[in-house]
């Protein structure tokens, strides 16, 4: 049985999830530039745990992940409409984000794309549609 979270709880979870991811990336790149120490490692571990916990609470337990990753024939017309709108919005955000990162990397980092960035973009691609639904819908 999928758990029912209120819209405000879902929104808070989504914010924490992406802030956790952003801080994780910030710590990773700061560690790379300044030099690794225990503070960075501990910080990354905390942010990773925070992101994972909120991911399971927001995307898995509510059934949002299943909603956006299932075949359209298993959805009714409202669910299809909601999913389609979320995917449309996510595509725009992801396209802008990916292109911006690629251009930034090409200009300032000599063209190399970090593996952590690739994984983060993959995570964003998979979670953004369900985050949009979780954010916008009163009931999921």
């Amino acid at each position: 049985m999928d758990s029912v979270l209120s819209q405000s709880s879902r929104r808070i979870g989504i914010i924490i999830n992406y802030i956790g991811l952003l801080l994780l990336l910030a710590l990773h790149y700061s560690g790379k530039q300044i030099g690794w120490n225990h503070m960075f490692t501990a910080g990354i571990a905390v942010m990773l745990a925070l992101s994972l916990i909120t991911f399971f609470m927001i995307h898995m337990k509510t059934g949002l992940w299943k909603l956006v990753h299932t075949k359209s024939e298993n959805l009714d017309e409202r669910q299809m409409q909601v999913t389609r709108e979320a995917l449309e919005f996510s595509y725009k955000v992801l396209a802008i984000t990916t292109v911006s990162i690629i251009y930034y990397m090409a200009i300032f980092s000599g063209g190399g794309v970090d593996m952590v960035t690739v994984v983060s973009l993959l995570y964003l691609a998979h979670t953004l549609p369900s985050s949009v639904i979780g954010w916008k819908q009163k009931e999921v």
Binding site: L75, E77, V140
Partner: protein
């Protein structure tokens, strides 16, 4: 294009016939949460779904759905009786 709100009598009809949201959802082939969205006017059904609902309740589509706020069925019936009586 911004869609307008469609009013409906699904909740009243479902209550009259003592059908749960889950039962209605199964009969019309949607998720049970979609029934809640329909009843609250938060989702406008497709023509196909509107016809499935009207077939289930054995009522014309225009009795169940309207672009204008719906009056209670009893009030509409009284008004109709008056009209016919005239």
């Amino acid at each position: 294009m911004k869609t307008r709100i469609l009013y409906n009598r699904i909740a009243v009809l479902r209550g009259e016939r003592n059908i749960s949201r889950k039962e209605l959802a199964e009969k019309i082939g949607v998720n049970f949460q979609t029934v809640g969205f329909l009843e609250r006017g938060e989702y406008n059904p497709s023509l196909d779904l509107a016809f499935r609902i009207s077939e289930l309740f054995e009522l014309p589509v225009e009795v169940i759905f309207s672009a204008e706020p719906l009056k209670p069925l009893s009030q509409e019936l009284m008004e109709y009786k008056k009209k016919v009586g005239e």
